[in-house]
């Protein structure tokens, strides 16, 4: 199968703490932190949106891939906060990257797994010979209604992956599997500014059924055991869900540690599991096995097994790491936060 030839990430500079939000909303801070397992989240700058995040991450992916951008034959951007209802984010990214005009482009949407699906599409197109390289992005400036439980975690960020031939990859894609059903756990109706969710229904019948379903399916297909993996990334709506799912799968805290970026930046929706994968690739050594499972409400999960190659060490320093974006931060008060969120929708 194809593999990852370059990856990039981006997290906006701004943060708001769970403590700041809880104080304004008059809610129990300890209960929220215990429930979500995170203490702060990223907030987009007033002039940032899913398109600007996608461009930033994609430019870093190009630096690591070291290829001529005009060799990219497909651009797919997954998000649930595309700036336009009609007009593709993917063509904005293609133009900013100077890819030229000879490429196919689409925006994808499947709640938080819109980005992971682009890896499967690109891998299929590379393997079929339709394209040499494909760019896939997951990026979001997640929406949350003030006062809603989502407000504590809905964050901004994204990651981009250039998929190409196995030879020359920094990580080969060994297996992929998906698990999908019609499950009404979370949605946003047309023209509505904020999503709605079905409360506790987002747990067992939604997140856990699909994340465990896809992960168990890929383990069965590949014949791998959970202990075979050096790193495991599971979609991160909060820190508690992936920690619990990992425990059910028999994974150790050490296996999920590097990719568990949610604790510092919140849930970046389409960027979530992909930022976890980027954080792992930033520090991975050659010949390491990585298991990634995304989750998108509505509902479905995509699982991937990657094996890193010797080439990964040559490109890790070619662009900024997820940890560098996490370290760069400026805290906002709640009033400033509201102004940022209001601005990004203008």
């Amino acid at each position: 199968m194809a593999g990852i030839v370059g990856w990039g990430s981006y997290i906006p500079k701004y943060r708001i703490t769970v403590e700041e939000i809880a104080a304004v909303q008059g809610q129990n801070l300890k209960a929220i932190i215990d429930g979500l397992g995170l203490t702060e989240k990223s907030v987009p700058g007033k002039d940032e949106d899913a398109a600007t995040i996608a461009v930033h991450a994609s430019r870093d992916a190009l630096k690591r891939a070291g290829i001529n951008p005009k060799e990219i034959g497909a651009v797919y951007v997954g998000s649930e906060s595309h700036p336009y209802a009609v007009k593709p984010t993917a063509s904005i990214v293609g133009e900013a990257l100077d890819i030229g005009n000879e490429y196919t482009a689409l925006d994808t949407e499947f709640a938080c797994k819109a980005g992971s699906g682009t890896i499967q599409i690109n891998a299929g197109m590379v393997d079929s010979g339709m394209i040499k390289y494909g760019l896939g992005v997951g990026a979001d400036t997640s929406q949350a209604e003030p006062g809603n439980a989502l407000e504590y975690s809905a964050a901004a960020g994204g990651a981009a992956f250039i998929i190409g031939p196995k030879n020359g990859s920094v990580a080969t894609l060994d297996f992929t599997a998906s698990f999908t059903s019609d499950t009404p756990d979370f949605w946003r109706r047309a023209l509505q500014p904020y999503p709605a969710h079905a409360g506790r229904f987002t747990g067992e019948p939604a997140y856990f059924k699909h994340v465990l379903g896809a992960t168990n399916l890929i383990l069965k297909k590949s014949g791998a055991k959970i202990s075979d993996f050096d790193h495991i990334v599971l979609h991160m709506p909060n820190a508690k869900f992936p920690e619990r799912a990992a425990k059910i799968l028999g994974a150790t805290p050490k296996q999920i540690e590097v990719g568990l970026v949610v604790k510092k930046i919140g849930n970046t929706y389409s960027g979530s599991s992909l930022l976890g994968l980027a954080a792992v690739l930033d520090v991975a050594k050659p010949e390491q096995k990585i298991l990634v499972t995304s989750y998108g409400s509505g509902a479905g999960s995509d699982s991937f097994i990657f094996t890193t190659t010797n080439k990964i060490l040559l490109v890790q320093k070619e662009a900024r790491k997820v940890s560098e974006y996490i370290a760069r931060k400026e805290y906002l008060g709640y009033a400033q936060y509201l102004k940022h969120m209001e601005e990004i929708h203008k």
Binding site: T52, R59, A96
Partner: protein, 132 residues
């Protein structure tokens, strides 16, 4: 509205989206945005890639902003000397006015400029942030 036409912005993609430079074939001076005539007398230029790295040559803070940027005021605008020798005027974001000084290292980022009202196009392009 400030430069409301999406077509006008579309014509500037090479400059503001991709940060292309133009190098005089005779004196080798590099410009941001296409020139018809170089002071050396040449009318021949080659398109080049600009790295997006530069230093602040002058800067100010805008309080009384045009309508399209009103909600983002106050914000910083700078004259930036790019590494390749070209000079560009652009917003510097993700910083406070007090963070900047002449000589501050900056790097290009892709950001939203403004939207043409609720129904109009969204305009993007290059801004700068202090190097981090």
């Amino acid at each position: 509205m400030f430069r409301e036409s999406p077509i006008l912005r579309w014509r500037g993609y090479n400059d503001r989206y991709k940060l292309k430079g133009y190098k005089c074939r005779v004196c080798k001076k590099v410009y941001f945005e296409k020139k018809g005539l170089c002071p050396c007398g040449s009318i021949e230029f080659d398109e080049i890639e600009l790295s997006g790295k530069g230093k602040i040559a002058a800067f100010t803070q805008i309080h009384g902003a045009p309508e399209a940027f009103e909600s983002k005021a106050p914000y910083c605008v700078a004259v930036i000397d790019l590494a390749e020798g070209a000079r560009i005027e652009a917003q510097v974001v993700d910083c406070k006015y007090s963070d900047l000084k002449i000589g501050t290292d900056v790097e290009a980022v892709f950001r939203k400029f403004y939207s043409s009202g609720e129904k109009g196009a969204i305009h993007y392009g290059t801004k700068f942030v202090p190097k981090f």
